[in-house]
Amino acid sequence: MLTYTIRRLVLSVPTLLFISFVIFMLLELAPGDPLAGMPLTIPDEVKAKMREALGVGQPFYIAFPKWLYQFFVVEPLFMIDAIFGTSFGGDTQRVLSWQTRSPVMDIVFQRLPQTLWVVGTAYVVAILIALPIGIYSAYRQYSWFDNAGTFVTMVGFSVPPFFSGVLVIVIFSVQLGWFPSIYDTTHRVTDWASFRVQLQQMVMPVMVLALQITSQLSRFMRASMLDNLNQDYVRTARAKGLGEKTVVLVHVLRNSLIPVVTVIAIGIPSIFGGAIITEQVFKVNGIGQLLITAIQANDLPMVQTLTFIFAILIVLFNLIADILYGILDPRIRYE
């Protein structure tokens, strides 16, 4: 198991390098000029100097390793500095945003809490709803509950978040006026009243995201339970006189959770991707919204860093899912 983990970790390095290279080369083609917004009165030689300072126009075999060095060596050093108050970073060059001329990672860490709050809550809520629905649907297959559940998950599957988001805004904030339609990220929780406001503004984005995740997870949970319910060991468990509750909730559930857990792990990065649209609908200024504005403003370092962070998340959680599978299921042994 350990050797497998190490081998996978080593293998993920070339994968990530390749992905970063693809992203880098794609952005190298970008037509944007970071100095397009500068006044025309700036002399050409000064402009050339400014370009040089921003690192624009270098050939890729210089720019790419430089970016890799900044991303993997310099930025972690600054992260350690920020956590422990040390100064390893010194005054080395960091990855700068063309929009704000400030370090990209600083902005990312400013935006991260909002995304994590909304997306994280939605994920937890979705898991808490999806598992019981999936279990009961499978246990009572083809009952009215199962049919209704299948229909609702199908709808949750098919309604894109940009429509369900807009729909809940029309219903709950325009018609009923229960919740605010815009997520206020400057809101601070200090007492019960402000906590209530925070909960109110989180309800709708969480609802939209959770609907999507719930429908995927509960279908998966149902299928996995159905696979296990017909197994011989279930008959054995019943035959030796175990209660129905024990059979379903201990024996079957534990075995069916194995693939579901890995699906939950694999889904985490894609939730960040799905959150791009949800954040745009509810105007949450998290990572997804940052990416959209960066793309629109031609802020290449920011786009590069964010896409690469998404890629790292995907590779990392795929690895975690595979390892979890090996740990949870003793039948699976990696060489």
């Binding site: 994968t15 199908m154 098919s158 896409t307």
Partner: protein
């Protein structure tokens, strides 16, 4: 063969012979959701195909002068049910937008583009996925590299890359094929080359299993060339997973196109698709919720019906489920 224990011409078949497709159709018919889905999808397709010829308003016509003031922001006729003062016009069943353009007409035209993008992207992704899957499954040498490529594509953050790619190539393609044609080609290509991975994996698995069967051995022993082998023996046998992923591919492509349009990275302005109509209406949805609801409903209904068809098709094409 005079001493054969049973002579074949005495045994009467109890039922007329049935083809495989008749069995599949029977199983498909028994799936109520799939039948409803197929009906609704067919209805939507026919509506957007022939609707614009039958419908009387020009979707791109912008009224001028007094007409503009009279026609703009007309509400759908059903609003008159609860709001007697609402500005409605029987000639404009779903009302008009803030420029006085007819909404139903724009929905019909927009649906054409959304569905065309969905189908074209689906065809591209299925062809790519099948090609890569068959090659990886049949030729052992190609298996490793192609599957690593698939894994790499699965590890790419697709939505961000799609957005970046649209930004990069939109102007270049618009210069070559015109703004609409360029965007169409761009979106179809992008959606196609970012959604073939699941098909490739399924097809490869099936081809690997088929390769061990006797009929493949027999075909090889009479000297069938690899091309003939793939076209005559392998492809017909992997048709069912391909058909299922094709149906589901339409749904993904429509959603991706609408998402791109919604984020402002889709077709040019004044060129309606369902996602674009939804996006344009969001700013004024408090006053005119219907402009958001109709395109959104149409997207969701199309995707839902396609998903149900895919579900039914999966059951119908699975011989283990069929006949039970």
């Amino acid at each position: 063969m005079s001493d054969a224990p049973i002579s074949m011409d005495k045994v009467e078949p109890t039922a007329p012979p049935r083809s495989q497709w008749a069995d599949i159709w029977d199983q498909f018919k028994s799936h109520r959701g799939a039948m409803w889905g197929a009906g609704i999808f067919l209805f939507i397709v026919l509506m957007v195909l022939f609707g614009p010829y039958v419908y009387w308003n020009d979707p791109q016509h912008v009224p001028t002068g007094r007409d503009f003031l009279n026609l703009r922001d007309t509400r759908p006729i059903y609003t008159a049910l609860w709001d007697g003062d609402a500005k409605v016009n029987w000639l404009y069943p779903l009302g008009t937008d803030n420029l006085g353009r007819d909404i139903l007409g724009r929905l019909l035209i927009g649906g054409r583009i959304s569905l065309a993008v969905g189908m074209a992207a689906m065809v591209l992704s299925v062809v790519l996925g099948t090609l890569i899957g068959v090659l990886a499954g049949y030729f052992r040498l190609l298996d490793g590299p192609l599957m690593r490529l698939t894994d790499l594509f699965l590890a790419l953050p697709l939505l961000p890359l799609l957005l970046v790619a649209v930004l990069l190539f939109r102007d270049r393609l618009a210069n070559m094929f015109g703004p609409e044609g360029g965007t169409f080609i761009l979106i179809v290509t992008l959606v196609g080359i970012t959604s073939w991975m699941q098909t490739a994996r399924i097809v490869r698995g099936d081809v690997l299993a088929l390769k061990e069967r006797e009929f493949i051995l027999a075909a090889r022993s009479i000297g069938t060339s690899p091309t003939k082998m793939i076209l005559r023996h392998l492809l017909p046998n992997v048709m069912s997973p391909i058909m299922v992923s094709a149906t589901l591919g339409i749904a993904t492509a429509i959603i991706t196109e609408s998402a791109l349009s919604f984020l402002g990275f889709g077709f040019p302005p004044d060129f309606p698709t369902w996602g674009k109509l939804l996006f344009d209406a969001v700013d004024r949805m408090e006053l005119y919720p219907e402009r958001v609801l109709w395109p959104g409903l149409l997207i969701s209904l199309t995707v839902l019906s396609v998903n149900y068809v895919g579900d039914g098709l999966r059951d119908a094409l699975d011989p283990r489920i069929r006949g039970r």
